[in-house]
Symmetry: C2
Subunit: 428 residues, 2 copies
């Protein structure tokens, strides 16, 4: 059978993994896809750079268009990253009838619908399994595995850096800044960690997962996003004492046809399967009306895990090409998007308040909760020896985000409350 020719955009960590897998697993790939797969050309920034991997120099090019416009190339595998420029390459490739595999979460979160639309118009596939949760095949699970079900909740630990930080803070009672520094030294966090620690990376991945899970086009701006940089070791200690772990969770929910998507540090009951996902591992918990609770666990990043997903997509794309059904398998986000308002978004909350240590304070506080119809699951008041203020911990029953916002606003008017030390969403 005629080999299928691949143009690889990028030869960094993941690109190197892709070359290794395509060369090392040729027999399996051929069996799965129906034809030999050959990496024909590779885009690099600098042809003369020393590399860990042995690739013939005449495959390398520094000109992306040389690959994108090469009529001999059937499939573009994009592992270079970047958004604007990369989008142009891929749109051009699709318009020329080439198949596309990408690991680019930023691109798919921001311009996924545009790329998929272009692919459809030209009868091409765009696959992007590696864009979320590295080696976990969660995208095909949402598309194929649960095609028969109505997914009502997706909760993801989809950022390894922040999960490493949360795990270390929990296991070693360590402070955020110290663990972040350590993560940077180990290469788990970037020197500018903003995108990870402020939840932006997770928000992009949740945009992709929610779009697939709810069959509607979610925008990145629909995701209410809060990072972990304000999580203290004291918060984690309180959480643990109450039987919770603090995790940066992406949460996408659907009720009837209303959806909401958020990313925030969340207290998760330690009996929930996602609470024990530790270190740089990722996991996606999916709740379907029919199937109930499921969870998918694995490595969220790394050369070979991510390459596994890229090359699995490559096999699928080549199979479709050989069967003549490219562009005919793509799911459509066919439902109208209806976002929940803050009145409709509901969850439990944890609050830690520093309050005046005198009679009647708790009564004033609970009155405010009552006024906004937020009912309480647990209230714990304790003196704080280090502080003239007393500490009050409150866990609410399910309450709307709007009501909780009003409660917090009212607290600002209350002079017996010195400080709302922390507020967390609670799950499990």
């Amino acid at each position: 059978m005629k080999p299928v020719k691949v143009g690889l955009l990028g030869l960094g960590t993941v690109g190197t993994g892709v070359v290794r897998l395509v060369e090392g697993h040729q027999e399996d790939l051929q069996n799965g896809s129906g034809s030999p797969i050959v990496i024909e050309k590779i885009l690099v920034q600098n042809k003369s750079k020393e590399r860990d991997i042995n690739v013939s120099l005449d495959k390398l090019t520094e000109d992306p268009w040389e690959i994108v416009k090469d009529p001999a190339i059937d499939v573009i595998v994009e592992v270079m990253g970047g958004v604007q420029q990369t989008k142009e390459y891929l749109l051009e490739a699709l318009s020329l009838g080439k198949q596309v595999v990408t690991a680019n979460k930023d691109l798919m979160a921001l311009h996924g619908p545009e790329l998929l639309e272009m692919a459809k118009r030209h009868g091409c596939d765009v696959m992007y399994e590696a864009s979320v949760a590295g080696g976990i095949p969660i995208i095909r699970t949402l598309i194929d595995g649960f095609s028969s079900d109505r997914i009502t909740k997706i909760m993801g630990i989809v950022n390894g850096t922040t999960n490493y930080i949360m795990t270390k803070m929990s296991q070693e009672a360590a402070a955020y800044d110290d663990v972040l520094k350590e993560a940077q030294q180990l290469g788990y966090a970037e020197s500018d960690p903003t995108s990870d620690v402020e939840g932006l990376d997770a928000a992009r991945k949740m945009t992709i997962l929610a779009t697939l899970g709810f069959r509607t086009n979610v925008d990145l701006s629909d995701v209410s996003t809060e990072g972990i940089s304000k999580v203290t070791k004291e918060d984690i200690l309180y959480a643990k004492r109450l039987g919770y772990e603090v995790k940066l969770l992406g949460i996408a929910e659907r009720q009837d046809d209303l959806i909401s998507i958020s990313v925030q540090p969340t207290m998760v009951k330690n009996t929930h399967p996602i609470a024990s996902v530790n270190g740089v591992f990722n996991a996606v918990y999916v709740y379907g009306e029919a199937v109930g609770e499921t969870m998918f666990y694995g490595p969220g990043a790394g050369e070979l895990p991510t390459a596994t997903s890229v090359v699995a997509d490559l096999v699928a794309v080549v199979k479709n090409l050989n069967l003549g059904v490219s562009g005919k398998n793509s799911t459509v986000a066919y439902k109208e998007k209806k976002l929940k308002t803050d009145d409709q978004i509901s969850s439990k909350y944890f609050m830690l308040l520093h309050v005046a240590d005198r009679a009647g304070v708790l009564a004033q506080i609970t009155q405010i909760f009552a006024k906004y119809e937020v009912s309480l699951d647990a209230v714990l008041q304790q003196p704080n020896p280090a502080n003239p203020a007393a500490e009050i911990i409150i866990i609410t029953h399910d309450a709307s985000k709007a009501s909780v916002g009003k409660v917090l606003e009212a607290f600002q008017e209350l002079d017996v409350i010195f400080n709302v030390k922390s507020v967390y969403r609670v799950e499990g």
Copy 2:
């Protein structure tokens, strides 16, 4: 678009779930598959039986051939169970060019290759996601998600009944017989529980998983199988003290091209993700050379969870039918099967021995381990107040099954050993 017509064989628990999902999720199914899906006829044992579900009486038939031979029916969904007779229906359906979806693990474990061969000859699909681990889409994960990787280990909690029993015994320090009785009362165990508790059900599922994971046709007789009926609450207590849980695990391993498959009660280190899978839940842990550690968790049985997998297969089958690629997606078990000998199967072991409580006993025992080149990780000797015998607990390093067999044989000759109380494989 012309609706695709389905003949449903069986209207028990899962069949009822299939009807509910097909009727309730029509819009999603149509979007995923490309056409409306209609359940045209249903095989039942007794047409006049009262049912939980509202189905029009003229769809029901008591004659399987009326469905199998009906030229109007495009797809057979088999959820009736049974092996010999059922195989005949499905072979006939395939020979008539009908697509097949089945939830039947016994059938697929025993006659999978024959059915797949027949399907290939007639350009038909056979899909069987629901045959292993109910609602967890593990079969498509092995076929598509990891098509690019070499899987070297699959460990599964694939039988909910035994996992319920092991969990209860562990959490409540309860005896096997008591928990089994309770499981029977709750409907989690059959009145004749042999197939579950002796590991036969798990062995069938591991046959299917190993065939897919290793791309070679595994026979049920290749699976070395031991059940949980001899696990005592004392064993579990010891395990917990050492940081392990006891689980009935199916373990399929590959090293180079040599494979081994077994089902046995196994001590799993409590930090391993599969150790915390509790109750009737199932989980499949997959290790791939490139991807590393992954795990897939969810409900292993039940009306709607299992129906989710059946109907996801139905969507896939109908999609292929509409694209004209039925029978062209099937993976082939193309590798020659090479089973490991007992010399080549290696793992850690736990042993609990009752021995004479006098000097020199440990030396005699460790000499035997040394003779057969089994090295020890941990040895713990303790007096047993309830017994004239002392107890010795041994955990070995990795050792071959053959060597451990020889050690156990040699122990029978040793009069200072009263009793080899228990032996467990150790993982994690």
